[in-house]
Amino acid sequence: MSQLATLAPDIIMAFGGTLVLLLGTRRSDKAVNDFLRWLSVIIIGGAALALAYTRPNSLPAAEGWIISSSINIVFGVIFLAILAWTVLAAKAPEHAAGEWHALLIYAGNGMLILARSGSLAALFLGIEILSLSLYVLISFFCHRGMALRGGTMYLVLAAFASAFLVFGLALVYASFGTLDLAELAQRVSSKGLFHAPMAMLGFGLFIVGVGFKLAAVPFHMWAADVYEASPGPVAGLIASASKGAVIAAFIPFLFLVNTHGDILWLISAASMIVGNLMGLLELRVKRILAYSSIAHIGYILVGYLAGYNGVGITGVGAMIFYVVAYALAIAGAFTALSFIERDHELGVRDLRGVARVSPALAFCILVFIISLAGIPPAIGFFGKLYLFSAGVSAGYIWLPVLGLLGSAIGVYYYLRIIVNLYMTPGENPNLKISYTPLQISIIIATAAAIVFFGCFPQTMITALKLF
């Protein structure tokens, strides 16, 4: 029974997603779509409640595949919240609302499994469930622009990365003879990795796979194209929750810092530098945000390297904080941008006049951008402060310095967005902005949350029980 309680969120998500899918096949008009939207929110909310009331450290369920430590639960609730947010803020396609919502819920199911995986197999299962849903979601509007291309690209590259990942995990399994993460960590710490070259190689391949999923440099090539091709909310979901889930799944492997620390250091540094530099070259908004998200993965990895060291907040705590802070901003930005209707890819110059047509939307985008740039009073500033403090206290001096310098470079492309939003004369003649009252109020609430938590970050630390 207690196993069933641990599995309840997954069960709710899986059955709920199927229910939404089946109901959606009947008829599609506005009333039905709205009903499906709220039904999805209720399902996700139910799963989140079930998860929140799981007793921490209760028995592992399903042969140890699903565990529930307090960090995993916090992560899971965060991802479900982002998912519910996406369902509410996104413009569901009219012709296939059922499929859209069902796929989102399935993606959420994948994230949930990832965030709480207790075994290598569950980890792989979670990644695949998540990726499969995303393939379809990316090219959902297949007649539009590069959607098909983006979806195919993600499919090919993610499959490629999965191959690395699963082969790496197989090598690890071959060396240690266990799939269980806790046991694995124990055996690694008792035996040491350096005497197991096969496992070393396996973990190396594993990091490559994870790097692909996170779009960390040098595995970042797909990010800009895929983000640009995806519908805004989906891009936001990939950048925030999906990456966050991979990070959550990566946390049990913290022992890798001892053996593969240099590689992770390089990946982190390269992501911060390349992400910030390449963004300078882009003139299309979604591509800019894609490179910004690459840089942010670099920042987050600083927290990973810091592990359980830290100032008041550990590196892991700072990562959780940052995942939330970053998700609010990037998902908000992608979704807000999707309200601007267009027949071609959104360039920065297309933003001209948004401030006049919809001051509220423009202001919210401004807040999101400021948060991404890490400027007070937005929450992104404290996210970075915590990550870098944790990094310094763990003895990494140069990573935070690189990160700060990188953000000084990166601020230029954020400014480019702000300038076009507010200051450039002339107006995009084809500018058309459409949103429902619900959508804009959610965007405004998100921006307000960013500023509120930016002024009172302690409230979020307390809420997430980060210390």
Partner: protein, 523 residues
């Protein structure tokens, strides 16, 4: 005490009101901003009264997880700068009354948010809070320049942003370093400035820490080779933007040096002092010379700011009481006098649609009131007795003499250059043959007169009663510790938390008790 919180909150509330009243007419935003800044000015006067007895402080936990507190504190120095801030805040709202007609609500929201940031910088006694305010100034100023600025506004706004943001990152790195050193030595994490001052740093560490802080603050001051953002930003900003940039934002850099950089790394400051003094003196002459050759009114005033700020930084780094008092005086005077010049430049541009001197001329006949104001501000800028600038420059030059006699001699010539460009401003606009551009120009309106009148009053008060600025420097009495003896104190004499001042022949440095019995110039 809640007074400080109120001072910070008043403009924030004003900004909220102005922002929420966006559907009403522009007058609502203007009145909301005026009410907020006016209330703030009143509170600042009250603060001046309280701060004479003991420093006013308020502290509450903010982010206990990392040891950051919402700690505001006002000693004399902070109180003086808060008073200057609130004063210029009122002037900024007044001068925008007729000038700003586009997006009035948004304009006032940014203006008031900017004031919140500045006040936080001047009052914060916690590094995170300080940095929070420091960065809070960026976005509003960026918008003021970028949206309401003049022809080349985008370039200037971005340049301003990138310069100060990059500088502030160096500052943050240095501050975090001290934070971690403190934690290592004392076993507790705290961002309180008072605690960080206890950290013992080796000379090499201090050198690096000071370098980082110095880059951050010197960009804002701006010190000579880092100044290039300033002429652009000042020239392109709307009038109130220029006023606040010159009057307050530059002062935050100086204040950072006084409050954080020099006390935190005194040995670093000593090591850098020769270089900084050289740069400051170079800035005095460079700014003045370039100012003299400008054709653009605002650009001229902008370059003159570099020159004036050179005096301020010089005063700080010669490391004696006269220098510090002079620097503080000049901070206030420069805010008022240069602010006044920017107001006139803005008023002229608004009417003549040009800032070019060649297009002005013979204006006195049409606008005698404006002429009178311009004459006063130009004279103040060149440091005529009766205005605060005279006293401030006297203090700085006196301090420089005491430090090295030849430095005093060189610096004194800076005033000569100031006279050159100040007179040029006046002659080019008011005298000479009447230019067709200004044929139908009106004289200043009463709102503009009121705005400028506030500045004039401030300058005269400081000019005749300089102790209103210098005396608070000694509040509370043990902030600055006078020391007998004639040898010039170096920066090294400044110990964390204290500023050690030698007694000066020119100025008696008795720390005054509660009453205003301060250093006065002796005949």
């Amino acid at each position: 005490m809640t007074l400080l919180t109120l001072i910070v909150l008043a403009p924030l509330i004003g900004a909220l009101v102005a922002g929420l009243a966006v559907r009403t007419g522009p007058a609502s935003a203007r009145w909301a901003a005026l009410a907020a800044t006016g209330a703030d000015l009143l509170l600042a006067f009250i603060l001046m009264f309280f701060v004479r007895e003991s420093p006013v402080a308020t502290s509450m936990p903010w982010i206990p997880a990392i040891g950051a507190a919402f700690h505001l504190e006002a000693d004399g120095l902070s109180a003086v700068l808060v008073l200057l801030t609130t004063m210029l805040g009122v002037v900024a709202v007044l001068i925008s009354w007729n000038e700003i007609t586009r997006k009035v609500h948004a304009y006032h929201v940014w203006l008031l948010l900017l004031q919140v940031g500045i006040l936080l910088v001047f009052l914060a006694r916690d590094i995170v809070l300080f940095y929070f305010g420091w960065e809070l100034m960026l976005i509003p100023m960026f918008f003021l320049i970028g949206v309401w600025g003049h022809e080349d506004k985008l370039y200037s706004a971005i340049k301003f942003f990138l310069f100060t943001f990059t500088g502030s990152i160096f500052m943050l790195v240095a501050l975090l370093y001290v934070y971690f050193q403190h934690a290592r030595q004392y076993g507790m994490y705290s961002f309180e400035i008072a605690n960080l001052l206890k950290t013992s740093l080796t000379e090499t560490e201090q050198w690096w820490v000071f370098l980082g802080l110095f880059i951050g603050f010197a960009v804002k001051v701006p010190l000579f080779p880092l100044h290039t953002w300033l002429p652009d930003a000042h020239t392109q900003a709307p009038t109130a933007g220029s006023l606040i940039l010159a009057g307050l934002l530059l002062k935050t850099g100086v204040y950072g040096l006084m409050r954080i950089a020099m006390p935190l790394a005194p040995a670093g400051a000593t090591a850098f002092a020769p270089m900084v003094i050289t740069l400051a003196v170079a800035g005095i002459f460079y700014g003045a010379l370039v100012a003299f050759s400008q054709r653009d009114f605002k650009r001229l005033v902008a370059y003159s700011s570099i020159s004036h700020l050179g005096f301020v930084v010089l005063g700080l780094f010669i490391g004696n009481a006269a220098g510090w008092q002079g620097a503080t005086l000049q901070m206030v005077n420069h805010g008022l006098a240069t602010g006044g010049l920017f107001l006139i430049a803005g008023i002229l541009q608004q009417r003549a649609h040009t800032r070019n001197f060649d297009m002005y001329g013979g204006l006195w006949r049409h606008a005698p009131t404006m002429g009178a104001f311009l004459l006063f501000f130009a004279m103040a800028s060149l440091g005529i007795p009766g205005t605060g600038n005279f006293i401030g420059e006297l203090y700085v030059i006196g301090g420089a003499f005491q430090f090295k006699w030849w430095l005093g001699v060189i610096t004194a010539f800076g005033i000569l250059f100031a006279a050159a460009y100040s007179l040029r401003v006046f002659i080019a606009t008011m005298h000479g043959p009447e230019s067709p551009t200004i044929k139908h120009m009106n004289d200043t309106t009463w709102v503009e007169n009121l705005a400028m009148g506030i500045l004039v009053a401030g300058l005269i008060v400081v000019g005749f009663v300089p102790r209103v600025v210098t005396a608070p420097l000694f509040y509370p009495p043990d902030t600055m510790v006078p020391r007998d003896g004639r040898e010039p104190a170096t920066i090294a004499a400044i110990r964390p938390g204290q500023i050690v001042i030698p007694s000066l022949p020119l100025i008696s440095a008795e720390p005054p008790p509660a009453s205003f019995s301060t250093p006065e110039v002796r005949k």
